[in-house]
């Protein structure tokens, strides 16, 4: 049987990959996808604890997170389309109107 810690480790690994992706990637859509990966990694932790401790709360939380992710996706892609209409580029380094 797979122990709890493996699931948590998997979740941590995915979360870190996602976080690294957000830092490394330069493309708005790619960054957005990395954020989705982070949210998903979190879900593994929730479901793992939920299943191992026989408590449905964690899975309910995951359900809520998925809804939130869907809402975030809709708005995020709306933003991306809006910016693309005006600039025809999604590279965040090109986003130079606002200086750092």
């Amino acid at each position: 049987m797979v122990p709890l810690s493996w699931y948590l480790a998997l979740s941590a690994v995915l979360f870190t990959i996602g976080a690294a992706g957000v830092i490394i990637k330069r493309n708005a859509i790619a960054m957005f996808m990395c954020i989705e990966l982070m949210l998903n990694a979190t879900n593994i932790t929730f479901v793992a604890f939920s299943s191992f401790f026989r408590d449905v709360t964690g899975q309910l939380f995951v359900f809520i997170v998925m809804t939130v992710a869907a809402a975030e996706a809709a708005v995020g892609l709306g933003i991306i389309i809006a910016i693309f209409r005006n600039r025809l580029s999604l590279d965040v380094d090109d986003a130079s109107v606002l200086k750092y």
């Binding site: 979190t42 408590d55 939380f61 975030e72 708005v75 965040v92």
Partner: protein
């Protein structure tokens, strides 16, 4: 077949519904829906008045119901299985949010027409964001805080990008979206870890209810995960309230977003972030005397927050000096103010005595109220002066306008002086209260740093006033028209600043008073 696996007790087969406790949130959310409906069936020119008016009525009604909950509610203090709680923290913050939203509505009613933006959608989003903020303050469970936060954040992302044809607005929206979601992910991971860590050695599953978390800290099955989770939560909230290492998004977003939205963002989400921050850390990881996990966790987060407060104040103030754009400058100033609020948060967290803790919480709420009013006042003037499209937001644009538009300059100066913390203004009282709370807990060094920072901040606040009154204007100046709703908003902020600065006693008294139902329960 028993289909209730995994739910702890049989009593959970029914839902613990209590809509009265949810009244303010319900009113605001319904007003949002109503605004959308009205918007769909009215002519364009009527929309801004109607939607703005409905929003204002909804906000006032919510405030009334909030006061009613505070003074005459006699029922339970929790509903929906602890998802919603009724306490002073919630009600006082709710009032702050309502003030912020009402002022934002006043600011934006005419502005949407200037910019020819869809009024109904804007006001609906504003109201949904307000509902989100209120849920953040009222949530007794991490899931509610997460949901409220997302409700707030997602609508703010849209509002930041509301001027769709403006590249700056698009970019601000995108940056806010990416970094906001990034921080939400951290918050969520923290929640997951806390949920797992609070399981117990007899097989009892973990919890996301804040009150239960506090009870379980010492029996937590995985203390290291608890620490990691708390750290993640800290990072998440740090992003949301823009404390120093996590503040990088603030200046860009505040500069790029349309000014009324910036005003709302600087005041509302920041206060809401602090509401949840306090809810989770003060009530979830509270002060305990007995040595153990809970005690170590408490001292750890206090120590981290002290450092964060110092960095935040210093970074905010020093960076603000270097800015040439007023919106950016105010953005850094808002970062600095987050630092001052953190000082109060540290004081509230470190308080061992319940009475002192409540005073410190009241101080923080008062500070946030004051800060919201003066920031909104400042941004209101910036909105008016910037004209449509936010064209004039450089400091040079303010050269010598003081005597041409005396009222605007006066209102702006009052807001700036209050942000600086000059006596007789609200900002001064706020700072005094927060710093004295910190002094009560013995954080002398922290307060010294804060006061030094205030001195530094004098440079950039006063520079703007000097520019307005004593610098020659190069181009011709035609004074902007100030529409009635904006004039009302400005008048309210100025009056508010002086009222809270000179007669703060009553408001503080209110913030320190428990809701009647709780004081009755406690027998006081």
């Amino acid at each position: 077949m028993n289909i209730y696996f995994g739910l702890q007790t049989a009593t959970q087969q029914f839902a613990d519904v209590n809509l009265w406790l949810l009244m303010p949130e319900l009113i605001v959310a319904s007003a949002g829906v109503l605004v959308m409906l009205v918007d769909a069936f009215t002519k364009r020119l009527d929309q801004r008045w109607l939607t703005g008016g409905i929003s204002l009525i909804g906000l006032v009604a919510a405030a009334v119901s909030c006061v009613w909950l505070w003074t005459s509610w006699t029922g339970p203090t929790e509903a929906f299985f602890g998802m919603i709680v009724l306490d002073r923290l919630r009600l006082s913050f709710t009032l702050v949010f309502l003030v912020v939203s009402a002022l934002s509505v006043l600011l934006s009613m005419i502005w949407v027409e200037w910019e020819r933006l869809p009024a109904g959608e804007f006001h609906a989003l504003l109201l949904f964001a307000t509902a989100g903020m209120m849920l953040m303050a009222s949530g007794g469970d991490l899931v509610m805080i997460f949901l409220g936060l997302e409700l707030l954040s997602i609508s703010t992302y849209v509002m930041a990008g509301f001027r769709r044809t403006d590249v700056r607005s698009n970019e601000a929206s995108m940056k806010y979206f990416i970094l906001g979601s990034f921080s939400s992910a951290f918050l969520l991971y923290g929640t997951a870890l806390v949920y797992g860590a609070t399981a117990m050695a007899n097989g009892t599953p973990g919890t996301t209810n804040i009150r239960e978390i506090a009870q379980r800290l010492d029996t937590a099955l995985y203390p290291p995960l608890l620490f990691a989770g708390a750290a993640m939560l800290l990072i998440g909230f740090g992003f949301k309230v823009a404390t120093a290492p996590f503040h990088v998004w603030t200046p860009d977003v505040y500069e790029g977003a349309p000014t009324p939205v910036t005003a709302f963002m600087a005041a509302g989400p920041k206060a809401a972030g602090f509401a949840s921050f306090m809810r989770v850390f003060l009530f979830g990881f509270p002060f305990v005397v007995a040595a153990g996990t809970a005690q170590r966790l408490h001292s750890a987060w206090i120590a981290v927050l002290v450092v964060l407060a110092v960095i935040t104040m210093t970074v905010g103030n020093t960076a603000a000096i270097l800015q040439s754009n007023v919106k950016r400058m105010l953005a850094y100033s808002s970062i600095a103010h987050a630092g001052y609020v953190l000082v109060g948060l540290v004081a509230a967290g470190a308080a061992s005595d319940l009475g002192q803790r409540n005073e410190a919480i009241a101080a923080v709420v008062f500070y946030l109220l004051v800060y919201s009013i003066m920031t909104l006042g400042a941004f209101a003037v910036v909105t008016i002066l910037a004209r449509s499209g936010d064209r004039r937001t450089e400091i040079e644009d303010y050269n010598g306008i003081g005597f041409d538009s005396p009222w605007l300059a006066f209102a702006f100066s009052v807001s700036l002086l209050s942000l600086l913390g000059v006596p007789l203004t609200a900002g001064f009282m706020g700072k005094v209260m927060v710093f004295s709370a910190a002094l009560d807990q013995g954080y002398v060094g922290l307060v010294v740093v804060a006061v030094l920072n205030t001195v530094v901040s004098a440079y950039y606040y006063l520079r703007l006033i000097v520019v307005m009154f004593f610098r020659e204007r190069s181009g011709a100046w035609n004074a902007p028209l100030v529409p009635a709703s904006m004039a009302i908003a400005l008048a309210l902020t100025v009056v508010g600043i002086f009222y809270l600065g000179i007669f703060p006693g009553r408001v503080i008294e209110v913030f320190q008073a428990s809701p009647s139902v709780i004081s009755r329960l406690l027998g006081t």
